[in-house]
Subunit: 320 residues, 2 copies
């Protein structure tokens, strides 16, 4: 939620001249995306989002991210389309940072997702998975199941400061997931961070999926598990079964996942809850001096994880 790198007017003019997008009308730094600096660029031909990639993004991953967006947008997925310069490139430098220009998407985020939003999300998530099937680049999930224990090792000593007993609770869950995590599910490119603030709607119709900077190869149904965690709990903790049913069933209408993958939903939901519990716990315990962003409370994910631990089958999520 910040603009880390300032773009000077002369540098902007030189940058924009490399594209066939008309003349600059306005440029506004926008509070969108935690990792990068984002600007809304208006020209006399249209609106664009200008992103300057900050240090937390691995530059080597950028061709994957930009290539994926272009691949998906060309196949009708409502996501930002990278704009090619006159030289054919989508990635160049601005103000000393790697920078790219993408199309602007209409829509606003919903703060309290309703059933129609979850139905839209399920359908678009499935369409995105189908559209990425023939994308040729790949990227390892840097926060996959095997990364959770090393991540916890970095904050285990202070976990009980956040909630008494949290260290043992997480350790037991890591042990359970190590023993039971399924490794034979249908893989593909997943978004891996499809929270409500990464999805735009216009009048209850989904108009855009954004912020693909965690996208990677992993089990497709794990993306659905992340969405269940992100979209189907009221006030952070109370499970909304109607939302979950709308999400999973509308997904299945577009892409029928194998029965074994659907059956794995309870453990995948546990894994997804633990993944966000761990990254939030790490951020909670490691707030940098002068931080711009207040860390999110990790304990919401303890409650979600407890819910998933009691789910006996995928039927708990409205599907079987």
């Amino acid at each position: 939620m910040a603009v880390y790198t300032h773009v000077e007017d002369d540098d902007l003019a030189a940058f924009v001249a490399k594209y066939d997008i008309g003349d600059v009308v306005a440029l506004k730094g926008i509070a969108e995306g935690v990792e990068n600096s984002n600007y809304l660029l208006q020209t006399d031909q249209g609106h664009y989002i200008l992103t300057l990639y900050e240090k937390r993004v691995n530059v080597d991953d950028l061709p994957f991210f930009l290539g994926l967006l272009e691949h998906l947008a060309e196949r009708g997925v409502d996501c930002p389309l990278p704009i090619h310069g006159r030289d054919g490139n989508t990635l160049r430098e601005l103000a000393g940072r790697p920078a790219a220009l993408v199309s602007f998407l209409n829509g606003i985020c919903v703060n309290k997702p309703k059933v129609q939003h979850c139905a839209e999300l399920g359908e678009h998530l499935a369409r995105m998975h189908l559209a990425s099937a023939d994308f040729t680049l790949s990227r390892k999930n840097g926060l996959g199941q095997s990364d959770w224990r090393p991540l916890f090792d970095q904050c285990a000593d202070h976990a009980n400061d956040v909630q008494p007993g949290l260290r043992d609770f997480i350790t037991a869950e890591l042990d359970y997931l190590d023993a039971h995590w399924p490794n034979d599910l249908q893989h593909g490119i997943i978004h891996a961070d499809l929270f409500p603030d990464n999805v735009f709607f216009v009048k209850d119709k989904l108009s855009g999926l954004i912020d693909f900077y965690f996208a990677c190869e992993d089990a497709l149904v794990y993306d659905l598990a992340i969405c269940i965690n992100a979209w189907c709990f009221e006030r952070g903790v109370e499970f909304n079964a109607t939302n979950a049913r709308a999400l999973t069933q509308s997904y299945q209408k577009i892409e029928q996942l194998p029965a074994a993958d659907i059956a794995a939903l309870p453990i995948l939901c546990r894994g997804a809850a633990l993944r966000f519990l761990l990254t939030r716990l790490y951020d909670w315990l490691n707030v940098p001096d002068g931080a711009l962003v207040k860390p999110k409370n990790p304990l919401d994910y303890v409650e979600r994880l407890r819910f998933h631990q009691k789910a006996t089958s995928a039927a708990s999520y409205g599907i079987s």
Copy 2:
């Protein structure tokens, strides 16, 4: 440079329904204005800036600010026009804060003002002064000459920590200004903070004056002195006489200030430099915990003040 208050989609829909501006297409929190939360609101009818007034703004001043903008915009000044709701009001509440909607202005800020920008600025500043002549509301300058000593009293003890000898330097200047400050200059409504980041240009033509939240009644020529400080120094310290000449002469072409007011430019420039030196010094010494904005270095204004101390007449600023 921050969005302090988050606007939820339901609250936004209820707010926008009070205006005849069409349906919401997009809302982006923008990094503009230090004091308030600003959003760029796009509807199917146009673009608007939505401002939520944060705690540093005195709510009692809002009718003055909004009334002034409307008064100026109606008289052809390129400034934001407050939008009236269906109930006739321009000020209402959103997300627990006073909020207003104004028109969107095209243009971007210049980082290194050139002579054509200063000429444009002088002309538009004079037009703004003329247009405000029949505005009936008034507001005292909360950072006028009589306020500088009490402000310095709050940071004098630590001034020498910033630069050895700074305490005596400022005290001597306060004494000089107390003895020589002119009180018989032509008064009117001034912007009082017309720095390059508050002025938009489209292809070197001035397209907008924004951020009127320091506007107040004071000497008109003092606004020109502020602009000289803000627009006519290279790399913060080297006086650009060509820029100053363009600024002052293009102002005079539109509004001929009395000879005594022009003659007072050197001392007014001293005062303007001291005013920004003092507020920057105060902010430098009082950075709040978790501050979002890095304070600006006050010492640039020591250099500018030293330049003005040596200016023997208004001819130093390209006018007489």
